[in-house]
Amino acid sequence: MAQVSMTVNGKTVSGEVEGRTLLVEFLRNDLNLTGTHVGCDTSQCGACVVHVNGEAVKACTMFAAEAEGADVGTIEGQANADGSLNVIQQAFQDHHGLQCGFCTPGMVMSTAALLKDNPKPTEAEVRTYLEGNICRCTGYHNIVKAIMAASGQDVSAIAAE
């Protein structure tokens, strides 16, 4: 076991981990931040996406020890300071961009990373960016729409309600 400490959602945290402890296991089991989900074991589904030093990473494919000293952001830290939904979260609700909710934390975290680098993505850019986030419920239509809306683009012309 080794000591690891990092900043998670602005708070300094530390704990004892094994070498093999994944970042997602540390978040879920040690910190009880269960909003970060595990949907696969081959690093593809993206339900576990968090931010490490501002970049999207798959928390199931990074060891906790590798996050030593890092600034980690999870879904639990995304809402506005007053607890209200942030722009991305609000767009997902407004445009019905989630159903069962399991992939949603990863989708929100990936969206935040996308919009940081590309504040006004096209539809094609959004779809390409989501290559590492799998959703089984929505057929992606409303996720893509929500992301474009979150970027401040007018989505009223997109088909259907």
Binding site: R20, R28, N29, N32, L33, T34, G35, H37, V38, G39, C40, D41, T42, Q44, C45, A47, T74, I75, E76, Q78, A79, L85, Q89, F92, Q93, D94, H96, L98, Q99, C100, G101, F102, C103, T104, P105, V108, E123, A124, V126, R127, T128, L130, E131, N133, I134, C135, R136, C137, T138, G139, Y140, H141, N142, I143, V144, K145, I158, A159, A160, E161
Partner: protein
Amino acid sequence: MPKDNSTVEGGIGAATTRREDIRFLTGEGQYTDDINLTGQAHAVFARSDVANGVIKSIDTTAAEAMPGVLAIFTGEDFVEVGGNPAGWLINSRDGEPMKEPKRPVLAHGKVRHVGDAYAAVIAETKQQARDAVEALEVEIEELPAVIDMASAIEGGGLVHDEIDTNICFDWGWIEDNRAATDEAIKNAPHVTTLELVNNRLVPNAMEPRASTADYNPGTDEYTLYTTSQNPHLTRLLISAFVLGIPENKLRVVAPDVGGGFGSKIYHYGEEALVLAAAKKLKRPVKWTATRSEAFLTDAHGRDHVTKIELACEKDGTFIAFRTETMANVGAYLSNFSTATPTFLHGTLMAGNYTVPNVYVNVKAVFTNTAPVDAYRGAGRPEATYSIERIIDMTARELGMDPVELRRKNFVKPDQYPFASAAGLEYDSGNYDRQMDKLEKMIDREGFAARRAESEAKGKLRGLGVNAYIEACGIAPSNLVGVLGSRVGLYDAATVRVNATGNLSVMVGAHSHGQGHETAFPQVVADMLGIEAASIDIVHGDTAKIPFGMGTYGSRSLAVCGSAVVRATEKIIAKAKKIAAHMLEASDADIELKDGQFSVAGTDKSVSFGEVALKAYIPHQFPIEDIEPGLEETAFYDPANFTYPSGAYACEVEVDPETGKVTVERFAAADDFGNIINPMIVTGQVHGGLGQGIGQALVEQTAYDSDGQLLSASYMDYAMPRADDLPFYQVDHDDGTPCTHNPLGVKGCGEAGAIGSPPTVVNAVVDALQSGGHEVTHVDMPLTPSRVWSAMQG
């Protein structure tokens, strides 16, 4: 945006955003694996790596000595308990009941598919349990695997030694129509024949299955937290069939569930194992599947091999459909597995058409593969695919427009109720109107220009169109009882008006993405004239909800929603009596409007909240006539299925150099009857389309001849991603209301997955033919390599 016909804000017809989203968007959802109980131990299963084998010995000595190991279970430990049963008894054409081998908690004697669990280790940590699984000394003598259905039928190896065949049943529907159908086809001027495969799918709800059991030795009570679409059904199966725990001693909680699509209807052995282990250890025991386990052990979907014939007149008038299908049921019968290829498939084989003769023969086949059961659509996608593919082929053979051929044979609006040749009574619909809408939505007139543009880029463009009808809102108990169901398929709701005027509505349906927490209150709010925000839905806990059958078969609103209506009607009737007492009037004169009870023709009124308070503080209350309290339960058993229908169109581009297919446009015109929340309905259609297009283009479940699953992870099983799919055009306005449920609603959850696979395949065949390729059919999934191979001839 949809219209809001309701007088209540947020009532029926409002596109209310979902209240449950808040917790999911902030990481506060609570899924089964998020629940950790004090003192919990962890279970890991030992799973077969061969498809068929005799368990010669399992030596647990070394594993028991491993650090942290608390207990080890093998099949031997469950010999005395029951098997996990099939929910439907199907009789073969000769009247013989289906073969029904025992499905044990853990494999005993033989392992029958890769992933079949034969032991489980319980340890302090998950890693310790896994270490100990590796320390089990196991001798399994591998036998040749039975994988291919045709070979399984012919004989050779057996999946189950105790039955002398791999054929579970050989079912005919409707057997009395067989001779007439054969005769009609023999004499028909035109017969089209098509052999096709409805590809096997892995459901892949994003949340892997998980179960945690807790046992209280003081009360002998168990609690099971599990990923279920139907906690009461799960409890019933465990109590009545498998472990025999009295129902009143077992609480099943299905908290937030991350998608189901059928795969979480069923009771699985892991649930029984953690319950037994929790009792033995007097500690909570937790198990969470990895995705790799999910691929090997979740019930798969589809997997039909079918020959279908369509006989018609020279003018295209349909005479008969005749179908022969082999349906893979895998190694064991999962709970709905025998209903799916039969009554959810054969009864739909008349489609939207006035065809007079229909006959379906289905042989269900055991193989050394994971069990196959209902997956989004369940039987109806298989029926629709067969019918709508062969109609397209017939249109080409006759040189007819595929839309006109369908229109020529559609059931017409004045023919309802319509008795189909496959034994169902369709209550309402208007297929021509949907087709009219669809042709506008897809801009059929503009297709030629778009095709020319594609060709200028070196691409082939195709347009595929089809109709679908399905039977859902499962199901009338009397009818399904006759058809072999071992359960009733009603649902239930309890409406509890609390003293302070807010409401708790306990429902048997389970929401795992469908938005019940938002949509059901819209119904109650509309009926009572109060704010939806004051109404909460309670679901997913057998200790809290009435005995309902859960969520599958697009039944939640049509069946459970109807129970909510009936319970709310009882609330209104009682509340009117209380109001009448308070207003010193006759209850016949009381009107409810906008949350106020008033005496007709007067200005005397009391609010809903005042009546609620009175019910619970019954001072000066006529207790001889009215009981205190305001809580009512209703069970609702539907009179018929609901029959959503629709017309779908899609345009694809095919890259002739690589065979890559891209879906350029997709339009869906659906009839779901009345709509409670159009935003949610649209989302359901989108999701179904994503899965249907996924089936058509990318999802491929393959076992090799040894029974190894080749597509056992996301490295080889392609899930449709955002860049595989387009924006969809959907329209479900102006539906024809269901005639027999109080809301006039039809199920919408599976339609997209039912209607869309043939749309895509029809479009690809159209594209290939436009490029001069004499391709009449390509089996799904239409991967680039398959399409390219088809083009090579």
